[in-house]
Amino acid sequence: MILFVQAVINGVLIGSIYGLSALGLTLVWGIMDIVNLAHGEFIILGAFMNYFLFTLLGVNPLVGVLLAIPAGVVVGGVIHLLFIRRVIGRSGLTTLLLTFGLSVLGNNIMLQLFAGEPRSIQWIRTSLELWGFFIPVTRLIAFCLVLAMAAFLFYFLERTYPGKAIRAIMQDSEAAAAMGIPTGSILLLCFIIGTVLAMMAGTLVSIVLPFQPAFALQYTITSFVITVVGGLGRPAGALVGGLLVGILESFTGTFISQAYTPITVSVLLIGFLLVRPAGLFGYSTR
């Protein structure tokens, strides 16, 4: 029983970070109809950014999390203007292959620059003990940051003009353009938000888990699975799906074997695709 609750705690804490990274993927995919296969590379890039800020300059990792915002704006903006902008609306084969190329390129550049060994930030290494359960402080901090960021994002999407414009484009991009919404700049904003969320998730990853360029693929797949589970373009679905996948991974690791997590996650993905392709929060008609 103690093990069970501890597995749930671990799963929720890690799953919240997965949820944040999936938020970025689900927005870009739902609104721009582009499945960004380089999403995991953005996550690892964020992790490396925070790592080097901490080890070389001694910047507090929490400040690094905030610095992911300007970094994400620059990276996302440049990649959108150079590549993504030119393939919006093209066939799925084109956009997938383009982001696949970006992923291969980005991953191997990082591999060359930073080498392939696993790294992690050695920061606060204590755990809180609560009724016999252990909660690592860094993971708790990451969890709270994810909740704060998600709350901010929901406020942005629901209450501000650009957020409403994003949701309008998701419903019907042509009608939105006819209503005078500057679709081009909103799509740029959307990709930037996706990149910022990914890099921010990456900075959190660097605090709580070891990482290396080769993990990027795994993060892309995890974010993808969460998007499918939560429902395409549904921010709330991404968070809940993230927790679900986090708990599933934690349970597999605790009760079966860490080596089997790719299998259980694949089963979850294929199960959802076959039984409920719209996901938990999606509209079942789509």
Binding site: L105, N107, I221, A259, V267, P277
Partner: protein, 323 residues
């Protein structure tokens, strides 16, 4: 047109000339550098053909295509180890037949549910299928688990065994070319093209899309499995590394350089790609994957038809000859 009539058409003529050259390499040049170069090149060309049968013919992005390569390797090498006590007296390459059939059957079983999903969903589902199958073999102790399965115990060194591997690759390449070539000309190919262009419309017009898609997937799996089995026995070693995703990247580059969905594309793409890759690896040993990524981006954005597609576009008359 009879079978020899097809041989006089330009596309098969070019392809068969390449194959004839490759067939003459071992007797003329022996088993030196050129032998190894040609062998690895054929390895990639046949795999690119098999990927082309899925991604090029029906438009389903198969990012986990290496799963069939690995399954083929384990079908031949793994079963060889299970059913033999010591060194085998027969030619071990007979197991290659199974290494084609088992992945094809697996493709039918997996393809039936998996091919119902499309686009990015299918791409990621195949990605994770590959990871899942790799994880199974990492933990499957009968087949050596993560350490892999050395086959030297079962394979005594016999003079000329490399030659067998070489000619099986060549045979698979010839077969892959003709299967692709005829498929595109016959009813099967028209069904594939209908699915590629608009799957819903094809289904409405009475094309049995499920059967066609599974056929394409199983064809791809068969050729990838044959190569996997030959590779495993040729290398004397089978391990979960046969499932590594990096090979998929090179296959996509070859297919796209040559021309997606064409009969000649994978062969031309493979020759160009592999020659350049060899030079790149000698010159900058660690940068070649960065360059591959850039090549994919450039091709997608500027020359989506690849080599064959661009020739057809700039010289429309060539459409009659270039298939």
């Amino acid at each position: 047109m009879n079978a020899f009539g097809y041989l006089t058409r330009p596309t098969p003529l070019v392809a068969m000339a390449v194959c004839a050259f490759l067939a003459l390499v071992p007797p003329l040049f022996g088993q030196g550098d050129l032998f190894g170069f040609c062998m690895t090149m054929m390895f990639f060309i046949v795999l690119a053909y098999s990927l082309n049968m899925v991604t090029g013919f029906i438009g389903y992005l198969d990012f986990g295509h290496v799963v069939f390569l690995g399954l083929g390797a384990y079908s031949a090498g793994g079963l060889l180890s299970l059913f033999s006590e010591g060194p085998v007296s027969y030619n071990p390459y007979v197991w290659v037949i199974l290494s084609g059939l088992i992945p094809a059957v697996f493709a039918v079983l997996v393809g039936y549910p998996a091919l119902r999903i499309r686009g990015a969903y299918f791409a990621i589902a195949t990605y994770s299928l590959n990871l899942a199958v790799q994880a199974v073999f990492f933990n499957w102790e009968i087949f050596g688990g993560s350490e892999g399965l050395p086959l030297n115990r079962y394979l005594k060194y016999v003079e000329g065994r490399e030659i067998w591997g070489y000619y099986i690759y060549l045979g698979a390449m010839v077969a892959a070319f003709w299967v692709s070539y005829f498929t595109l000309k016959k009813k099967l190919g028209f069904g594939f093209r209908a699915i590629l262009n608009d799957e819903d419309a094809a289904a409405c017009m009475g094309v049995n899309t499920t059967a066609y898609k599974i056929t394409a997937y199983a064809m791809g799996a068969f050729f990838a499995g044959i190569i996997g089995g030959t590779y495993g026995i040729f290398q004397n070693f089978v391990d979960p590394d046969n499932f590594r995703i990096g090979v998929s990247i090179e296959l996509f580059v070859i297919m796209m350089v040559g021309g997606v969905g064409t009969a000649l594309g994978p062969m031309l793409g493979g020759i160009i790609f592999y020659t350049i890759r060899d030079l790149l690896i000698i010159q900058f040993s660690h940068l070649h994957l960065i360059i591959f990524g850039a090549v994919v981006i450039v091709i997608v954005m500027f020359i989506p038809g690849g080599l064959v597609g661009s020739i057809r576009e700039f010289w429309p008359k060539s459409r009659r000859y270039l298939e």
